[in-house]
Symmetry: C2
Subunit: 226 residues, 2 copies
């Protein structure tokens, strides 16, 4: 499958590498390819420069948001939540129309320091805002409730014995995403319902962040015991 | 231990019965005892009238909020979130001073129908509002992330193999609550940190409610796999 991963941070890189490893044809989208490739300093989160990662992953093609999206069958929004709408606009409304848009971003607001709050929450969600802005895309929210390494390879923790959620208005699009999740190794996929249920998935972040603080490591996961 | 459970809904009843079963001296607080005992109709949630429950649990004493709180060593806020501050005011500031106040309420807002949103969230929490209103109480947030029956008797699901969170500013108060949780049967108690971490615990509700919808039953729980 041709997949565009929008976002060159650690989440985008981790998913892109995993998709390529699983045989997908992967393009990583960024606003300005030359500028992204020219950076030689670690990014704001302390990750190595993208070019270094890109050279180590020659099977993944860096491209502009629009070039990444135009031929993609599946588009993954792995940009930071506050930049997502702008990134998707740059990807091009026409390049998203009719496609599955897997939104894994969280609308984290770091403006008041750490821990971040959410810039959208409770009575709305980033996923719904994206769906409203791009009504022809088939938005599915998933994967945002865990560390990037577990998104891509859940068996790294407890042999994958934990839970991932999907929310979306289009049953076929949720099915495409569910199959992708299963390919990654996710075994317990809970369909929360329509896209408004992303309000539930996104408000997991405030406790995720506190758990990270309490446990000292991000390698933990929610399992819904029932 | 003398425990005042404030609130006569299903959560208050379930915890009061469990505490009495475990040997605590339990009073259930309500605004107007006569009025509460005189009700013969099921409550808004369809639970049998309180008097019926009270007659079946003669070891639990109904009392006004203030009478319940005055002699209590531990006060449990099991009122509905939007009524909690008023109920605690009725219990009496002086009757809460210096005591552990276990807040298990959720600030659910049903004004726009079902599913409810939260009336406080993200950048504040009900627990912090209670602490601010009653600075001499030792507020600990816990148990709000699960069904009442699992709060009181976690072994009813998966032999108790799931997680409960505590948040609070007073380490001794958190220890008192942690021991109580363990008495109930909770085996995995995660201390999230100070009371501001209740923002995390309270924003679990939006996904809890959607999971209830998706799974069709409230007998599920979060386990933090790590």
């Amino acid at each position: 499958m041709k997949v565009a991963v929008l976002g060159t941070g650690i989440v985008g890189r981790t998913l892109a590498a995993r998709l390529a490893e699983l045989g997908d044809e992967v393009t990583v989208g960024t606003r300005d390819v030359e500028a992204t490739m020219a950076r030689t300093e670690p990014d704001a989160m302390g990750n190595p420069p993208f070019a270094e990662w890109a050279h180590a992953h020659p099977q993944v093609t860096p491209a502009t948001f629009a070039h990444a999206a135009v031929d993609a069958e599946l588009v993954v929004n792995a940009t930071s939540g506050n930049a997502s709408i702008a990134a998707l606009e740059a990807a091009g409304r026409e390049n998203l129309a009719g496609k599955v848009l897997l939104d894994i971003a969280n609308p984290l607001d770091y403006s008041k320091g750490f821990p971040p709050s959410l810039s959208v929450s409770n009575t709305d969600s980033l996923a719904e805002q994206i769906q409203a802005a791009f009504p022809e895309a088939k938005v599915v929210k998933s994967l945002n409730t865990m560390n990037a390494s577990l998104m891509a390879d859940p068996r790294r923790l407890a042999d994958g014995d934990h839970t991932v959620f999907v929310s979306g208005n289009d049953a076929d699009a949720k099915q495409v995403v569910t199959e992708l999740l299963q390919t990654f190794g996710h075994t317990d996929v809970i369909d929360l319902g329509d896209l408004s249920t992303a309000r539930g998935a996104e408000t997991v972040l405030p406790i995720w962040i506190r758990l990270w603080g309490a446990l000292g490591v991000p390698m933990f996961q929610f399992k819904i015991v029932r």
